[in-house]
Structures are given as structure tokens and as C-alpha cells.
């Protein structure tokens, strides 16, 4: 009887071990299929894998690839109740502290601003807006349909509440981009109404 129980236990253990091994293989095969570019896998396999991988195990790890080439910053001026703020450049404060204290929140804020400007530039390029001019109403209309505009609207709400304690009536944004590869400086000016 005792021998039988031990045998069953060993058998269960064996199956448990095999199951665990197969799970690890399954886990990483699906992650690899889902992470490789579509040209390296197969779209059907990728969409099947995504059922398992998304959202918890979704990953890309394309860190710094492609290499970022723009040193960018933004400036803004808020208009409210017939008054306005100065032209504010948030990166000045962030870099002032971040260059000394690497572990504070200023670094995260600097990365946030960088990412915001990255998305805005991508969208402006996609809708073929030329730099170095104030965006026309038609260009603003097109831009408003993009995710870059969605992030910018959120950002505007945040800075308005932070700076003047309420939503601004309008705002002027200047996005500055310096291409570190070819040395070209470009900027875009955007006047937004509430």
C-alpha cells in the first residue's frame, strides 16, 4: 500500500515536472513570436501568441533603438482672464536639479517632456507640417486628430492647473528640436484655444 502511494506520488511528480518545463517553453516561445518583427515570424502565429502575451507579458525592449537624434525642449505661455504668464521653459528647472541630483523626480519629468516632444514631432512629420512657422488652422485641425495632440492637451491641463490653478483660456507652445546629427535647429509654434 505504502509502495503504491509512493509510486503514484513519483508519477505525479514526473508529470508536474514535465508540465512545468512545457510551460516555460510555451511562455518564452509565445513571447518571442510576439516580440520579433512580423517579417521574422508569421502574422497568424503572432496573433495567436498575442492572446497569451497581451497585456501582462507584452514587451519590446527596443531601448534607444533607433538612436534618439533630437535634443528638444518646449516653451509655453498661458493666457487667462485677459492676463498671461511669461514664456515658461520647464526644462530649465528640471535640468538644473537633474544635472546635480540624478535620483530625484526631475529626471523623470525631463524624460516625460522628451517623450511628449518625440510624439508631437512624429505626428507633425506624419501630417507633413513644415517647421519654423506658426501652425495654420488647417494644420491644427489635422494635428488635433493625432495622439500627439491628445498628450499635449493633457499636458496643457496639467501645467495650467500647476501654474495658474485653473484651465487657461489659450496657450502658445513653441517646440524646439535640434538635430544632433546634422546640426539643424527647427521649431514649431502652436497657438491653442481652449
Amino acid at each position: 500500500m505504502h509502495k503504491d502511494t509512493k509510486e503514484i506520488e513519483n508519477k505525479n511528480k514526473k508529470w508536474l515536472g514535465r508540465g512545468a518545463f512545457l510551460f516555460v517553453v510555451f511562455h518564452f516561445v509565445t513571447i518571442l513570436i510576439s516580440t520579433f518583427p512580423e517579417s521574422y515570424t508569421n502574422s497568424t502565429a503572432q496573433s495567436i501568441s498575442n492572446y497569451y502575451v497581451k497585456p501582462i507579458f507584452l514587451q519590446s525592449w527596443s531601448m534607444f533603438a533607433p538612436c534618439p537624434l533630437f535634443d528638444n525642449n518646449l516653451e509655453y505661455k498661458l493666457y487667462f482672464d485677459g492676463d498671461s504668464t511669461e514664456m515658461i521653459k520647464p526644462s530649465i528647472t528640471n535640468f538644473k536639479y537633474h544635472s546635480i541630483f540624478r535620483f530625484t523626480h526631475h529626471g523623470d519629468l525631463a524624460i516625460g517632456e522628451y517623450n511628449l516632444l518625440f510624439w508631437i514631432k512624429k505626428e507633425l512629420d506624419d501630417i507633413k507640417v513644415e517647421p519654423n512657422h506658426v501652425l495654420t488652422p488647417q494644420e491644427i485641425k489635422k494635428f488635433k486628430k493625432t495622439s500627439g495632440s491628445f498628450y499635449l492637451k493633457n499636458y496643457l491641463k496639467g501645467i495650467s492647473l500647476n501654474t495658474i490653478g485653473k484651465k487657461a483660456d489659450s496657450v502658445t507652445f513653441i517646440f524646439n528640436y535640434y538635430n544632433v546629427m546634422n546640426g539643424i535647429k527647427n521649431s514649431y509654434t502652436l497657438k491653442y484655444l481652449k
Binding site: 515536472g17 514535465r18 510551460f23 497585456p55 531601448m63 534618439p68 540624478r102 524624460i111 493633457n154 500647476n162
Partner: protein, 292 residues
Amino acid sequence: MKNIATYFTSDFKHWLKIDFFKRILYVFLFINTLTLLPAVNDIFGYNGIGGFRRFSWSGSESFFNLLSHPINNNHPWIHWVFVISQLFFLGTGFFRVKPLVSSIAIWFLTINLFTKGGMFFTGGEVFVNFLLFYLIFIQNSSKTKSYQLQNTLNNTFYIILLIQLCVLYFFSFFWKLFDANWTNGLALYYVSQIDTFSSSWLKAVFETNIWLSKLATYSVLFYQGSFAILVWVKKIKIPFLIVGILMHFSISIGMGIFAFGIIMTISYILFLEESHIIWLKSKLYKSKKVKQ
């Protein structure tokens, strides 16, 4: 297959390491959240500068995106509940109070916070989400009723943790191969000229020594590309990891992506031997007698 299956059901030999790793990771996350406190409203608030992501109740993803639910618009304290609860559970997790509940709560709260503040973070925070999720399944098997099952889970998720780090490095290397600036060795020179990812001294050093930036670029490529193989070679593992620590410290201090560099360095604990853990603990606790 039989031997592999036996590995998964054998007694879990890495508890000392996992326990140490978990606690170091929790300490780091605790400090990281404390450093973010002045910017909590900006980064995690519904009406902060990070704003909100689009929200809809569709699948499990919604549960990681709770801070973007429109209800937060009129309840500006909700993200504070997440932040304070995360700190609380990091404390209970560190002191091993209700470890399973703590690890689930830490993962849930952290993934919600990091998803909400995604614009401000890097791959390091994404990696932490994975680490915390896998760690939920690794618990002290001697304290559970179903010893065999817990033991198998521990071995399974331990190996998953190790492979996950290799996957991270592999893809990080893989994507860089498609970019001419990485393959021609100039990537780190260009990165060093961007204020957000640089410092005045790094900018100056790379500007006047292009060869140095080429050396650094190719070293990063080699390290990331070879990690998944060399980290398993016992003889060179420690010097190899030390090179990685130097690289990640340069990223933390030189490039200013502090959290990312520290997270990656902490994850190296997973590849250490038990003797190294005992040595590290003795250094940390400044005592010759290490609690096992």
C-alpha cells in the same frame, strides 16, 4: 526530458537568493517612490501633466489602467491611495509579513502606477512589472501545505526570471542592429549630445574623443548581444556581471537614467551563487553571522 522534469520538482535551492533579491528590489522601489513624491500629482494624477490614457473596460488590461478611469477626474486623491498603499505593502513585503498578499498587492499597485506614468519612465519600470509578477509565484515552500506544488512553482518562475533578463538583453541588441548609428559606432556620441540623456562631462568627453564613443557603442552592443550566452559560463560570469554593473552605473549617473541602471544592477543578483549572496549580506549587515 526526464532530467529536466526532475529539475523542476527538485527542492528549491535558491530561496536565500530570491529572498535577498526581493527585499533589495522592495527597498529600491520604496526609495524610488519616495523620490517621486514631489511629482506624484504630475506623474500619476488624472489631471497631472502626464494626463490620462484612454480607458475602456475591455479585458484584463483595464485592471492595470485603473488610474486613467474617468472616476479619477473628480477624485484627485485616488492616485495617492495607490502610492501610499504601494509604500505600505513594500514595507510588509520587506518584513515578510503576509508575503503572498504583499507580493500580489505590490505588483498590482506598481503596474497601475507605472502604466499611468508611462510617459515619464523607461524600460526599467516595464522590467520591474515583470519581475514583480514572476515573484508572486515564488514563495517559501516550507511554509505552505502543498510543498511539492510550491516547490515546482519556485523552480519554474526562478528559471523564468533568469531567461526574462536574457530576453531583454537579446531584443535590446537585436533592435539596435537595424539602426545605422548603432552599427557605425556613433550612437552613444549622438545620445551624449542630448541634454535629457547626458551630462556636461559626458558630452565633453565624447565630443572630443569620438573613438571613445565608438568603443562604448560597440561594447554595449557586444555586452547585450552576448549576455544570454556568457552569463551562463561560470568561469567568466562574475567579471562579466561587473562589466554590466559598470555599464549600468554609467547609464544611471552619466546618462541620468537613474532608476533603469539601478533596476538592471539589482536584477544581476539573480545570477549570483549562494556564496556571493552570503558575502553580500554580510557586507550589508556588517556582521559575520548571516541569518540564513
